[in-house]
């Protein structure tokens, strides 16, 4: 079915969500360090929880199908309260983008550009994402569709090469951790990467309604989970549990083991280029949604003029956050799983409950 004017297809939406989730998901593998071979359970919990929350948001939105999600927030919660609630999302987006920008910068500084100052990489990143946001949503989606085949090809190739070093199933024996630890791992994987998908509810109006929307979301979540599971499996298989737990970027360490022939060493650099491109897409989408929310919350008439200052605010905040890489590791494994619960779980549940009472009356009237 062709997309309506101003909308994108379900496939494009799914590809955008997949690229958004897959960019930075395999960088630290925090939950894998906690749960070792039982990590797939954490991924399943994270995926199921994210899909459930997005389904609730979808159910709320289809009560008023002609409105954007932001307008649905206004109708369901009242204008003033909805603005307060949306401010939580603004803070959440700042938190996630700071985390992603610093993660990408620390990765680049550790692996490729050790002599480049952090500020310079962050500034380049901010200017790139600002430009991407200024060219518009459709251009972002088209560039994702263009980059996705290269990403899939590169990652499939590298996974195939790593698999040659794996001789036993590292996910065996299962159920070696307590239910509490598996639950906490689920919370970790819900924070990163699956729970980040909740902000895609603000893009629901960019695709048509119906079952295909949820099917594309499910496909994207499932494929992102599959990719994450494969990356973890191969990392454990090639590095072993102990080295994976002690490595800062375990999947990258596994990629480094790949040697193709005698002369084509450092093939991982090419793969990193494609791999980190998706983290940039993630920050672009976050910045785009931030501009949309900011425009709505503060009733801005001309959002284009705010793109550059918002990009520079992103730069300033990410520069002042997570100064040390171990600070970031601690934050991601101890603080963020709790701090992100309000925008990713509490508010969607509140919207669903209040919306099912108030919007039923509105749609019936």
């Amino acid at each position: 079915m062709p997309a309506k004017q101003g909308q994108i297809t379900f496939t494009s939406f799914g590809c955008l969500l997949f690229s958004y989730l897959s960019g930075f998901s395999t960088l630290f593998l925090i939950e894998a360090k906690f749960l070792n071979q039982d990590v797939w359970m954490a991924y399943s919990i994270g995926m199921a929880l994210s899909f459930g929350i997005l389904w609730l948001l979808h159910r709320t939105q289809i009560r008023l199908p002609n409105l954007t999600m932001l307008e649905v927030f206004d109708h369901a919660l009242g204008k003033l309260f909805s603005r307060v609630v949306l401010c939580f999302y603004l803070v959440y987006l700042l938190e996630i983008q700071g985390d992603a920008s610093q993660a990408l910068t620390s990765f680049y500084r550790s692996v490729v550009l050790p002599n480049t100052p952090t500020n310079s990489i962050l500034l380049m990143l901010a200017l790139t994402t600002t430009y991407a946001v200024s060219v518009g949503f459709h251009a972002i989606v088209r560039s994702v569709l263009l980059a996705l085949p290269f990403f899939l090809l590169g990652i499939a190739f590298i996974l195939l090469m790593i698999s040659q070093d794996v001789h036993t199933n590292p996910f065996l024996p299962p159920f070696r951790h307590s239910a509490a630890l598996i639950g906490y791992g689920g919370l970790l994987s819900f924070f990163l990467p699956f729970g980040k998908s909740i902000v895609f509810c603000f893009l629901f109006d960019r695709i048509g309604s119906g079952r295909k929307k949820m099917a594309s979301i499910f496909a994207a979540l499932f494929l992102a989970g599959l990719y994450l599971c494969a990356a973890t499996y191969l990392t454990f298989g090639s590095l072993g549990m102990r080295l994976t737990s002690h490595s800062l970027f375990p999947f990258f360490s596994a990629i480094q083991l790949v040697k193709l022939g005698e002369y084509l060493e450092r093939i991982e650099i090419m793969i990193i280029g494609i791999w980190t491109l998706f983290t940039v897409f993630e920050i672009i989408v976050l910045q785009y949604i931030f501009v949309q929310l900011f425009t709505h919350v503060f009733r801005i008439q001309r959002p284009k003029w705010f793109v550059l200052p918002i990009g520079l605010l992103f730069f300033a905040i990410s520069e002042r956050s997570f100064r040390e890489v171990y600070d970031q590791d601690y934050y991601n494994s101890h603080i963020a799983p709790f701090s992100t619960l309000i925008p990713t779980v509490v508010i969607p549940l509140l919207l669903f409950v209040v919306g099912s009472i108030r919007l039923k009356r509105l749609s019936g009237a």
Binding site: E95, S120, A180, G183, Q301, W305, P309, A316, I335, F338
Partner: protein
């Protein structure tokens, strides 16, 4: 230098676009733009910016004790 340059750039941008917005009867846009630019430039000031509250610092203050309690209850050490 980079910080000072960005602070000046963002303040100049805020002033010019803010004035244009005011002339086009978009006072609210101008107000929020100037506030946003001032906030960004404050973060860029060398001594003030480093001590300003960020989302990370605020969340560590608010959620740190909660996280520690939950994790000790679950038996997950640091």
């Amino acid at each position: 230098m980079l910080h000072a340059g960005i602070a000046v750039l963002v303040l100049t941008y805020g002033t010019i676009v803010g004035v244009i917005s005011m002339r086009r009867k978009r006072g609210r846009d101008a107000l929020w733009l100037v506030l946003l630019c001032c906030l960004t430039s404050l973060y860029e000031l060398p001594h003030i910016g480093a001590n300003m509250l960020t989302v990370e610092k605020a969340h560590k203050l608010v959620y740190g004790p909660i996280a520690r309690t939950v994790m000790s209850k679950l038996g997950i050490g640091d």
